[in-house]
């Protein structure tokens, strides 16, 4: 199916870009709606979900070494239920890919290309992602290896440029209404941390299996660190006005002004968003195509990449007429769907597989 191999460092970079690219722009706004000035605490609670998911996934792949997620499903839950669970996962992945492409297109449409038809943005990104997916996992690994330093350092350069504008008193009062608002704010970011579930699809293709856990943990810490800094910077600059804007980090970047010379940094953020979203869309697209191939025991996933592309474009429009519906959908559906599909079902599978390992069937 997939003959390429990636190192666990590349896996970490892929996962960092997959999670951080969309999170850094949209999540602070949604978190601030619930957590107000405690929004910087929310990623810490949310990262617990990331650690739990990672441990579940690593244990699951240790119990079933070198096997795909769909094979694990069939071995633990039986062939029929396993195939059904596999079908649900394939649909879930395709649906999530559609949602990501749509949110990317909406961002480009609102801030950068208001006159362009949305289908042009969606289709051009899908075609680009399809070429990368056909290239295979190694190509995705190298792409993220090139993009990771650009993404990471640009964000930190922008944060350094913003330091003169910070107003530290925006942080106070800490935990004004107790811990509950920050916990409520964690419900949205946990979806992003839960995306570490995708590691289960990449683990069989690692050239150094034993380091997978280590780099996974390091990636979660890096994501947590970036989340914390981004949330704090946004809070220090915008104060109580965060909840009103959809893309607070972009709004904060507009405050960069060094001696009236270095200013208008927001195109960099837009470029970073395109770059990171490209990796994210590619990874989800790849996992969906690979998932369909593994679920149906096909010889290769490459022929289905283009037909799947049309379906993904259609899924990004299905029942989603405008931005308001999408935002409402993101807040009511994705937190619960995310935690069920990315954490609870793998936990259930791990429970069954550990139980089966302990209780060996008696041979008569």
């Amino acid at each position: 199916m997939e003959k390429g191999k990636i190192s666990s460092l590349q896996m970490g970079m892929i996962m960092y870009l997959t999670i951080m690219s969309t999170a850094i722009l949209t999540v602070p706004g949604i978190t601030a709606k619930y957590a107000k000035q405690d929004l910087w605490l929310s990623p810490i609670w949310a990262s617990l979900v990331g650690f739990i998911t990672l441990i579940i996934v690593i244990r699951l792949s240790k119990n079933h070494p070198q096997q795909s997620f769909f094979q694990i499903c069939e071995q633990t839950a039986g062939i029929y239920i396993g195939k059904l669970v596999g079908f649900i996962y394939v649909c879930f992945l395709a649906y999530v890919t559609g949602q990501i492409i749509r949110s990317y297109a909406d961002f480009i449409l609102t801030v950068y290309l208001p006159q362009t038809p949305i289908s042009v943005i969606v289709i051009s990104m899908t075609v680009l992602a399809a070429f990368t997916v056909i290239g295979g996992l190694e190509v995705i690994g190298r792409v993220s290896q090139i993009f990771f330093p650009i993404f990471f350092f640009s964000i930190f350069i922008i944060i350094i440029l913003l330091i003169p504008k910070l107003n530290l008193s925006n942080l106070l009062p800490i935990m004004e209404d107790g811990i509950l608002p920050s916990l409520k704010g964690a419900i949205i970011p946990q979806v992003w941390f839960g995306e570490f579930f995708l590691i289960i699809f990449l683990l069989p293709f690692l050239s150094d299996q034993s380091k997978g856990r280590k780099w996974g943990m390091i990636t979660i810490f890096m994501v947590l660190f970036t989340f914390l800094t981004a949330n704090l910077i946004v809070l220090f600059i915008l104060g109580q006005n965060i909840a009103g804007s959809i893309y607070p980090f972009l709004k904060a970047t507009r405050f960069v002004n060094l001696g009236d010379f270095i200013e208008n940094m927001d195109p960099i953020i837009i470029a970073l968003w395109i770059l990171g979203s490209f990796v994210k869309i590619t990874v989800f697209y790849y996992v969906t195509a690979l998932g369909i191939g593994q679920w149906l025991n096909l010889t290769d996933y490459k022929p289905i990449v283009w037909p799947l592309g049309i379906l993904i474009v259609q899924l990004s429009f299905w029942s989603l007429p405008n931005l308001m519906v999408i935002n409402q959908h993101d807040e009511t559906v994705s937190p619960f769907l995310g935690i069920i599909m990315q954490t609870f079902i793998p936990l259930l599978l791990l429970g069954i597989s550990s139980f089966r390992k302990k209780v060996k069937p008696v041979k008569i």
């Binding site: 022929p303 289905i304 283009w306 029942s319 559906v333």
Partner: protein
């Protein structure tokens, strides 16, 4: 129903079949069936006015609405 979208999708499907046919010919039957089923689903979906058609998103919203309401009330 928008005929323009339908014909565009048909042209894309035709291009994909032409482009992949040489490679797909050598694959086993199961791969060919999956390839064509995906294309048929894509073609069938292009007949509808998708943004206003109830679909998987509507289903998920019906399932998860009680949870969302519970969250709002906290």
């Amino acid at each position: 129903m928008k005929w323009g979208i339908f014909f565009c999708v048909m042209v894309i499907i035709g291009t994909i079949i032409l482009y992949e046919w040489k490679k797909i010919k050598t694959y086993p039957k199961r791969d060919k069936i999956t390839f064509f089923i995906l294309l048929i689903i894509a073609g069938a979906l292009s007949l509808f006015d998708l943004p206003n058609l109830p679909g998987p998103v509507t289903l998920l919203e019906t399932i998860f609405r009680p949870f969302g309401n519970f969250m709002e009330s906290l």
